[in-house]
Every structure is written in C-alpha cells, then in structure tokens.
C-alpha cells in the first residue's frame, strides 16, 4: 500500500469514527424513542405538540430567538438551573421527541425558555414583552418585535388579543394593537413550552 492510499484511508476512517458516534448513532437511536405511560394515572408523556406550536417554532427561528435563549435544563450539580426555577428536573432526550425543530441554544443572554409556558400562562404577558420589552426593565437588552403586531382601528368590539399598553407605547384613542398571525403563532409556541410532566429517567432532585 503506498503512502497516499494510507493517508486517504486514515483520513477516511478516523473521521468516520466520529461520524458513526455523533451522527449515525443519534440519528438511529432517537428515532426509536416512545412515550412513557404513568402507571398510576395512565397518562402518556410527553404529548405531541399542538399545530400552532409547529408554526410558531418557525417564527421563533426566523426572529433568531435561539441566539439569546436556551431550551434545556441541566442536572442539579451541573448547573443551578433548577434553583433558578427554570424547571423542576433536568431535560432528557425524550422531552424533545416530537419537536420538528429543537432549539437547545448556546447562549443565555435571555432566560431559559424550556418551561416558559409553565411560568407564564397569560398570552398578554408575552404580547407585552414582545411589543415593548422595556416594560420588563428599562435596561433590558431584548429588542422589540413590533413587526409581529399591527395597529388598527377598533371596529365594534375591541379584540380579545389587543395588547394592553400604557404610557407612550399605548395606541391612539380608537385604535388597538393586535398580534399578527405570526405573532399569535409565536406566542402559541411559547405557551406550549412545558416540560413539567414526570419522567422516570429524570427524577426531580430531592432537595
């Protein structure tokens, strides 16, 4: 075997090992995950995502939320995520089995969103933060996402989705600020982020 053939095979097989371990293995293994059944109640977990969540995930990606927000909770001892109330337990592979797009994220310039749908259940809260983040804090580094909303004249009854705003952000009299379909989808997605069901492979930390 001459030198260049040896080089070629070396290049091929050494990289092939990492490809088998980190590409082929997870690709095949995680396709085989199934829901678990709670023995006492018979409840299945996790549950498939509602349709609006799948649409909203696209809006989440398009607006780059993932560059500042993460979506996983680390084991207690590997990080203080549980103490920060970002979740009651660590997240595991099964939690993400139904997600067409998994946004684990690598930055926490913003809060972790794994369980944001547990912490906040009111769509109004999300609308306000997305439209005017400075209502959270004047110094917040989150930008406003006003293109997810439209200002329109109130026709008859005000919309139930109209964003409740005060001060300089409030719409002129007779007008209301309502989320677009993209805005609604994004908030639908965020509300669906709940990984608060029990899983046997990820018990809640005891203390």
């Amino acid at each position: 075997m001459n030198k260049i053939t040896g080089l070629f095979f070396g290049i091929f097989f050494l990289f092939g090992a990492s490809w088998l371990g980190l590409v082929a293995y997870p690709y095949l293994t995680f396709a085989g995950l199934r829901q678990t059944k709670d023995e006492a109640t018979g409840a299945l977990a996790p549950l498939p995502n509602p349709g609006i969540a799948t649409q909203g995930a696209r809006v989440y990606a398009a607006n780059g939320c993932l560059y500042c927000h993460s979506q996983y909770v680390r084991e207690k001892g590997e990080g203080n995520d549980v103490d920060r109330k970002w979740g009651t337990r660590r997240t595991v592979a099964r939690d993400y089995m139904f997600d067409r797009q998994v946004f684990l994220g690598a930055s926490r310039l913003g809060a972790d969103l794994t369980n944001v749908g547990v912490r906040q259940t009111d769509p109004q809260w999300f609308y306000r933060i997305l439209y005017a983040p400075q209502t959270l804090s004047p110094e917040v580094s989150m930008p406003a996402y006003r293109w997810l909303f439209e200002t329109r004249e109130i026709q008859g009854q005000p919309s139930v989705d109209a964003v409740k705003l005060e001060g300089p952000d409030a719409p002129p009299a007779g007008y209301e600020i309502v989320p677009t379909s993209e805005g609604k989808a994004l908030v639908g997605y965020l509300l669906s982020l709940k990984k608060n069901y029990p899983l046997s492979e990820a018990p809640e930390p005891t203390e």
Binding site: L14, A31, Y67, R90, L104, V140
Partner: protein, 498 residues
Amino acid sequence: MKEIAISEEESRAESDAGYDDRSGVDRSIRIPVLIFFGSGVFWLVLASLFYLLSSSQMFTPAAWWTFPGVEWLSFGRTYPIFFNCYVYGWATCVGIGTGIWLLSRFSGVTFRSPLFPILAACVWNVGIITGVLSLLAGATTGRELLEFPPASAFIMFLGLVVVSLWAITIIWNRRFGRMYISQWYLMGAFLWFAWMYASANLALGIGLAPGVAQPAINWWYVGSLVDLWFTPIALATAYYLIPKIIGRPIYSEKLALLGFWGLALFGGWTGLTYLIGGPLPAWMITASIMAKVLLLVPVLATAVNFHLTLKGHFGGSRGNLALRFVVIGAVVYTAYSFVGSIISARSIAEFTQFTFVTMLHRQVGLFGFYSMILFGAFYYIVPRLTNRRWLFPQLIESHFWLVVVGLGLLICSLTIGGLIQGFGLEDPQIPMIAVNDLLQPFLAIQNFGVLLLVIGNLGFAVAFTLILLISTPVRERRVATEQLNEASESTEAEVSVA
C-alpha cells in the same frame, strides 16, 4: 522603513532558483484563486458591517442606528448573516483559494484552463447569495452555521464537490513524489469538509433527524468545521509560509505527523462540548470533552514545531508583515486550544457555558487564529499572482494593529464580562435582568473593539482593491524592493543580536 518590507521576500523568491517554474504554476491558476479571494474579501466587508450592526444591537437595542423596528435588520437576522457570511463567504472562500494555490505549487502542475475551480467559485458564491437573501427574509433552518435553507446548501455543495475533487486530483497527479505536510492537511481538509457539509445538511434538512439528534449533528458539524476544515487549512498555510519566508526547513517532520494524525483522530469529536449538561447520553458529551483535552497533544506538537523552526528568526516577523500575521495566528492557535480545553471541563463549563466566554472563544478561533494566518497568506500570495506590489504598506501595518488591538479589547471585555455573567447566572438570588445590567460596560468596550476590527478589515479590502486596480511595473518594483531589502535586513540583524 521596515513597514514597507512586506515586499521584501518577494525579491527573495525571485532570486530563488525554482521561481520561473512556479510563476508558470501561479499564472495558470491565477484566475480561480483571484475569484475566490475577491469574493472572500467582498463577503468579509459584508460580514464586518453586519458584525458591527449586530454587536451594536446587543449593546443598545433601542438606539436609532441599530434600526429598531426593521424586521430584516433585527438582531435575530443580522447575527446569523454576519456569522454565515464570515464563515462561508470570507473564511471558506479565502481558504479554498489558498488551498488550491498551495496544492498547485507543491504539485508543480500547470493547467491549460482551470475551468472547474472557476465554475466551483461561481456556484459556491451563488449559493451564499441565495442563502443570505433567505436569511434576510427570515427563511432559516434555525440551526447554527447551517441556517441556509436546503436549496442554498445544495447549490453550495455542488461547488464544494467540484473544487474538492479538483484539489484531490492535483494531489494525485503531483509531479514531485514526496508529499509535504501541508498537502496532508489540505487533502484531509477538502475530504472532511465536503463530507461533513453533505451529511449535516442531508441529515437535518432532508432526512428529518429526530429530536435531539438535531442538536447533536448540528454541533458535531460546528466542531468539525472548526477543527477539521479551518484548522487544517490554516496549519497547511503556516507550514508553507513559515519555512518559506525565513528560508529554513521545518524543525521536525515527526512532530508534524503527530500533529496531523492527532488532529485527524480527535478533531471530529469536539463539537458536543457546547452541550455540556444537555439532553444527550452522557457518554457522547464525555467523549467530546475528552477529545477536546486530548487535542492538546497535536496542538502542542504543532506549536513546538513552529517555535523551534522560528527560533532565532522571530525578528524576521518584525520586518515581514506576512510572517507577522502568521506568527500571531499560530500563537493564538495554541492559546485558543488551551482555553478551549479548560472551558470544556464540566466544573468550569457550569459557569462559562451560555455566556460570552464561549461566544468569544469561537470568535477568537476564527478572527485571531484562522483569519490572521490567512491574512498573512493573502499578503504573500496576491503580489505573486498579480505581479504587482502592495500600494500604501502603511495600510497593511494599520490593518495589523487595528485587528490586534480590536481583538485584544474583545478578549478583555468579553472574558471579564462573560465570567461575571456566568457567576451571576449560577446565583439564583440574582435576577436575570440584574445580571444583564452588569454587562453593559463590557458590551460598550466590546462594541468599540468590534469597530476597530471592522475598520481594519475595511482597510484590508481597500488594499486588495488597489492592487487589483493599479498596475505597478515589475522592473520598478524590483529596484525598490532591493533598496528596501538592505534596510530591513539591517533591522533584522539588529534584532537578532539583541
């Protein structure tokens, strides 16, 4: 006087016995290399502008100069556009250009019409253009460094396959039997990159990878991209330029081989260190951490080899700007790899993960290690391809200092800021908002550092445009460089005596 000595080793090469032969090689591959270089510089300018915009948006999200309220210029789009333009536009284009130039020189092959690499360059750039337009419109896959939609990725892949096959063919048809270490690295780089790019895009874009297989494959790709595409290209370049410029063979071929095989063995495993504590089997993450630590073996072998080759010749890097860029890049490579291993340890990652420290680490790898070496290559190669000299060497000198100072500011501000952020995040008593408030002064310094970097890169683009536009007769240049040579050699001698 010494700052003009960028052209010093040009005359040395001309007096070199084999020059005439190589200039034939250079002529035959000039057009594809210049297309890759030219498009690379264009993307560098675009990436720099988006970099400045995105880092300003992070610092002052509501200020008018950051375009608040403009959907297609919001942070969620400017940041991935900056990063993709930088990685696929600048870094990859200039990497391919340098790679095929090096391979042609080593192989001594002249081409009658280099149609395939020209075609590849055009196709690759069309892919990037469609990808960037998609990102502006919000059509993204939402996976880091694989944001381009599958159609753009497919176009880019076509260009990549053509140029990779062509590169391997040059190696196969080389006129000189013995292969130099740079050829090993380049052969690996072209094979690995085509492979990782194809399989990541196939598995994620078309193959619908299930659940957490997506981030696993995504970060495998990002780790491999840095360690098995950018790193081998940069090392191949340094292994060529350092001995060439100082006129001395590489210290040890055995060390070089250890460096190569170590990189080939561990380089593909490092990516999952970005997911420490993540929802993946523990062995996968542990394997990545171990690979990151073991990678220090080839890194050290390479660093020692460079150091012993350069020993006694460090003075030369003062007089020769191309060498100065390469040496700084090589030093940053060692430091960057050490920091990479440290922040991959689980007990340290607890604090540094998700913070500016990891973001900074990735950027230093690209800006401080890879781009520095490739800037050096650029300054060395372009005069030889065009048979012209760099006008206004002060521009190159200021490019160097702007990049070094800008990078220094970035490193200081984001390391301190990132550590404060990390300790803040790990203390559940401190609210998120308060953690981010602490970061404001560091983001201000970072923003200024980015501004310097961007100005430096724009100066580089101006220098490149000038050499393309303005012809300087070779004869005249020779006389000028001979005079300069004497001046710079005397400073070199003084330095080595001291």
